[in-house]
């Protein structure tokens, strides 16, 4: 199809409304599909003596009944899980404008790289003489991440963003302790992601919240009021969770450093600034990156990711060990920094996720990564302009890779809430934006198209959002009508907890009052 007036092609590859989901029957669980005595397993011919369980395991340890798993043929097993995948939206199916999550396309070449036998079949305890390729990859990746963020040294151990945050806070703690200081507070903005305050607590600090001003940026005057010599540091993401660049970052950094605090950069939004500016140049001391956002490691339905942490020179000697290093003779090995805080992962981090990110960076190169940021910001900016008349834009100023719209006008006019917009968008063949986050925006719709969506997909997404805004309240509330299930009863799930098949039909958790708090809030 082409637009008759402009001649521009309008068919979009990012819309999944043609996906052939067949019917809306329930899929039985594995346990209901089981038939006693059926099995799919097969094993190597070992030639070993066939000692019995009784000969091998002392009687007081030996189980009397086998652990029930499931009993299913390989054919039924494959059909079951394949049908389940037909009940699942994904980036490979269509656009996923989930703000803060950077749901970009995950290049398949990275999947191939991570499944190479020479990477996948390496035991993590194997000595350096057997793992030179892995060590080189890790050292190179550390160097690249330092150069992208403007930092001096990095650890690849943290397995996700939140783990990176806690690692960063422990580094902060170790550094203050070495200066002979006992500090108690960490400042975070009211727009911060929930993992920030949760990590602050686990790092042994109290959270102090700094409000945002009318621009949607950190209120610098309010920040100054909170700064004293009890402040260990501040955690910021820049651009922030409204998608806005913290323009006063240099002043903020100066003020925090003045009281002896450190600046922590939550790298969830790094996609916006690749090759444009660097946290190190802004004055940050500690940076975590979400390789599962910025560097295209697929989210896997919730993980795994990787959350490396990079630091400025004065924090390098505290990094978790062991760290991969390049020796003077060009070979690779391990080294534990002098004042290391210790391991934060059982091994060396999420290795195969790191390999994916490395191959993504190689494919893009410095020039390609800058292009990523440019296209990500262009797409978000275009969409904000396009939706301006249709949705409220509470902070209508130049955004970066994402922006926050609001359904406040629709709610007032027809009772259509952000949640209804989200559910209607599912019907339109798109994933929903992040809703009710950041917490400082009412009826928030946080939209991050990412750079891999084409202009045609953006038009289709905008048109869908416009149709929704033109909808009646009743229609919006009935959505989604085309998905494998309709809206689910979340309150009931919490009230009558059924966390396993064996807990069916119903057990009660006893403490039901707490769950009336179960809100539709914060979904990302």
């Amino acid at each position: 199809m082409t637009d008759p007036t402009t001649g521009v092609k309008t068919v979009s590859g990012g819309r999944a409304s043609s996906a052939p989901l067949m019917g809306r029957d329930e899929e039985p669980t594995l346990f209901e599909l089981s038939v006693t005595g059926r099995t799919a397993a097969s094993f190597r011919t070992s030639g070993l003596p066939e000692w019995s369980a009784e000969e091998l395991v002392p009687a007081d340890h030996l189980q009397t009944e086998p652990t029930p798993v499931a009993e299913i043929s390989e054919r039924d097993l494959v059909a079951h899980f394949t049908r389940l995948t037909h009940r699942q939206y994904s980036v490979d199916l269509g656009a996923y404008p989930l703000g803060s999550c950077t749901m970009k396309y995950n290049p398949k070449l990275c999947d191939e790289a991570a499944s190479l036998a020479g990477l996948a079949n390496i035991h993590p305890a194997a000595p350096p003489s057997l793992t030179q390729g892995w060590l080189e990859l890790l050292v190179e990746l550390e160097d690249i991440l330092c150069s992208i963020t403007g930092m001096k040294a990095a650890t690849l151990q943290p397995p996700a963003g939140a783990a990176g945050e806690l690692t960063g806070l422990l580094l902060m703690r170790a550094w203050h302790a070495a200066q002979g200081r006992q500090r108690t507070k960490v400042i975070i903005p009211d727009s911060a992601h929930g993992t920030n305050p949760a990590s602050v607590t686990l790092g042994g600090y109290q959270t102090v919240t700094v409000p945002s001003d009318e621009r949607g940026l950190v209120d610098v005057a309010a920040l100054r009021e909170r700064l004293d010599d009890d402040v260990a540091g501040i955690m910021l993401t820049n651009p922030n969770t409204l998608g806005l660049f913290e323009e006063d970052i240099v002043e903020i950094a100066g003020a925090v450093h003045e009281v002896g605090g450190l600046l922590y950069y939550d790298g969830a939004n790094l996609n916006a600034i690749l090759g444009i500016t660097r946290p190190g140049d802004m004055g940050f001391d500690i940076v975590h990156m979400n390789l599962h956002k910025t560097f295209a490691v697929p989210h896997g339905g919730g993980g795994p990711g990787a959350g490396p942490v990079a630091v400025s020179p004065r924090l390098a000697e505290y990094l978790p060990g062991p760290m991969p290093i390049r020796h003077d003779d060009g070979t690779y090995g391990w080294m534990t920094p002098a004042r290391s805080i210790g391991r934060v992962h059982g091994w060396h981090g999420n290795g195969l996720a790191l390999a994916r990110a490395y191959s993504y960076i190689l494919a893009n190169g410095g020039d390609g990564l800058k292009r990523v940021a440019e296209a990500a910001v262009l797409n978000a900016t275009w969409l904000r302009h396009r939706l301006r008349g249709t949705y409220d834009i509470p902070y209508d100023r130049p955004n970066m890779h994402e922006f926050v719209a609001a359904a406040t006008n629709l709610k007032k006019a027809k009772g259509i809430k952000a949640l209804d917009v989200a559910k209607r968008l599912l019907e339109e063949g798109f994933h929903a934006p992040t809703v009710y986050f950041p917490l400082i925006v009412d009826e928030a719709l946080m939209i991050e198209p990412t750079e891999t969506e084409s202009p045609q997909t953006l038009v289709a997404l905008a048109e869908a959002l416009e149709r929704i805004a033109a909808d009646t309240g009743e229609s919006a509330k009935a959505a989604p009508r085309t998905s494998p299930v309709g809206r689910v009863d979340e309150a009931r799930a919490a009230r009558q907890l059924i966390p396993t098949f064996d807990a069916r039909p119903v057990t009660s958790t006893g403490d039901e009052a707490a769950d009336t708090m179960e809100s539709p809030a914060a979904r990302f």
């Binding site: 070993l48 086998p66 989210h299 084409s454 809206r487 966390p499």
Partner: protein, 444 residues
């Protein structure tokens, strides 16, 4: 460069015009000029797909791989188990691989139901009623278990057996600096936790079963000691053992954690792996991470959704039960498919074959002159040996690599040195005989 950005130059120009700008640079006007990177990133230019493949293969070929180059007798929390083709073919379908966390349940039933099945399986293996939707790995699952126990008991004294994987213990110590927990270790005696040395009150007792040296600990005694100190009993459990031994839940463990890598995840140089976490019903409000529950949709159809979310960081913020957000869902999917493929009989068969291979290897290795057992307690899939004439485990591993084996994991000074050896269901009599012959040569 920019293989994955679809925009044509004409489209970029058109989009810029629509937003009233004349260059891509102007998009970044909010970034102060002094902060702008003048020349862009100091990185090599982008490579084509085939060129990336060549580079990744070069790195992969610079490793000495298990299977291709080496027969694996190393374990220590990372095992060379069979991964059937169904795991790769089904778990790596792009709907599983490229979805986000199931925040929109109506279009996420695939991941949600798979996680519900996973939780059911982990509950059954551990013998506890509640299992979460995964944590990062065995080590960080121990940290979460310790945090739960301290919150539940209000006692920050944490007793950790030296039979717990030393790297996991180190991770527990690292995180305890933030929370202020006091971590004390309980020594081993002939490979088993010396329970009689424990006194005073505590918030948590953490023991591994079978332990790092492969030995089967006395969980009934662990439970008694936990009760005597007022602590919760936390058991780091090898899920493969669930094919043969009684579950930790049957001994009254409050929390069972573990490393799920043995079910469907390659060695991968240590990750991504799978943190298992299960607990008693009474601790469900303190459960870290996501939990999937069954419910119904508006038309009464069975449906699944993440639940009891008021525990989690996005709602509870600084009072959350944990900071975990992104977890290891895809690895949990692999684990679910692998367990379903094994089935009830297959899980038992797998564990039995591990135990047989381990007994056979142990007997063959202990027959070598100068090699002795580090512990006499019964083992399942792993055992520890002492080496002759003060030879180090590191030396043995290096020399055995030349013979085509990853011989095991060198044991640290706290165990008196030696080597930790694992034999899974993948090991054959021919491989083990060759291994023992090579080891005899190497230690001579």
């Amino acid at each position: 460069m920019g293989h994955f950005v679809p925009h044509t130059d004409a489209e970029i120009a058109e989009m810029l015009a629509f937003v009233g700008l004349s260059s891509l640079d102007e998009l970044f006007e909010a970034v102060p000029a002094a902060l702008r990177l003048a020349g862009g990133l100091d990185l090599a230019p982008g490579l084509s797909e085939p060129d990336v493949a060549v580079e990744m293969e070069r790195l992969a070929d610079a490793n000495v791989a298990v299977g291709r180059d080496l027969v694996c007798f190393a374990g220590g929390g990372a095992y060379d188990h069979e991964i059937p083709s169904v795991v790769r073919r089904v778990a790596y379908r792009s709907e599983y691989v490229t979805a986000y966390t199931p925040y929109q349940p109506e279009v996420s039933q695939g991941v949600l139901q798979t996680l519900f099945e996973y939780q059911t399986l982990i509950a059954r293996l551990t013998g506890l009623p509640i299992a979460n939707a995964s944590l990062y790995d065995g080590a960080t699952a121990c940290v979460e278990a310790v945090n739960l126990a301290v919150a539940a008991t209000g006692n920050q004294r944490v007793l950790v057996s030296r039979g717990v994987n030393p790297q996991w213990r180190e991770v527990v110590r690292t995180y305890a600096v933030g929370t202020g927990h006091e971590i004390e270790e309980i020594a081993l005696e002939d490979g088993l936790t010396a329970w009689s040395s424990v006194s005073g009150s505590a918030g948590a007792v953490l023991v591994q079963y079978p332990n790092y040296l492969g030995c089967l600990e006395d969980l009934a005694e662990a439970r008694r000691v936990a009760d005597a100190t007022g602590a919760l009993l936390l058991v780091a459990f090898d899920p493969v053992a669930a094919g043969l031994v009684r579950s930790p839940g049957s001994y009254g463990a409050d929390v069972v954690v573990g490393e799920g890598q043995p079910f469907g995840t390659p060695l991968g140089f240590g990750g991504p792996y799978l943190g298992l976490f299960a607990c008693k019903q009474e601790h469900v409000r303190r459960l870290p991470g996501r939990l999937v529950g069954e419910t119904v949709d508006t038309e009464g159809r069975r449906a699944y959704v993440t639940t009891l979310r008021t525990r989690e960081q996005d709602i509870r913020r600084e009072k959350a039960s944990s900071n975990v957000c992104t977890n290891q869902t895809l690895i949990a999917v692999c684990c679910t498919i692998q367990l379903a493929w094994l089935g009830t009989a297959g899980l038992r068969e797998m564990a039995l074959r591990c135990a047989r291979a381990t007994r056979y290897t142990r007997e063959a290795v202990l027959a070598i002159d100068g090699v002795g057992p580090l512990a006499s307690a019964p083992v399942l899939r792993e055992f520890a040996i002492s080496l002759p004439n003060g030879m180090s485990g590191e030396t043995v591993v290096e020399r055995m690599a030349d013979e085509g084996f990853l011989a095991g994991i060198p044991l640290g000074a706290e165990y008196g040195g030696g080597l930790l050896i694992a034999a899974t269901e993948r090991r054959t009599r021919t491989e083990i005989d060759a291994y023992a012959a090579a080891l005899e040569k190497v230690v001579r």
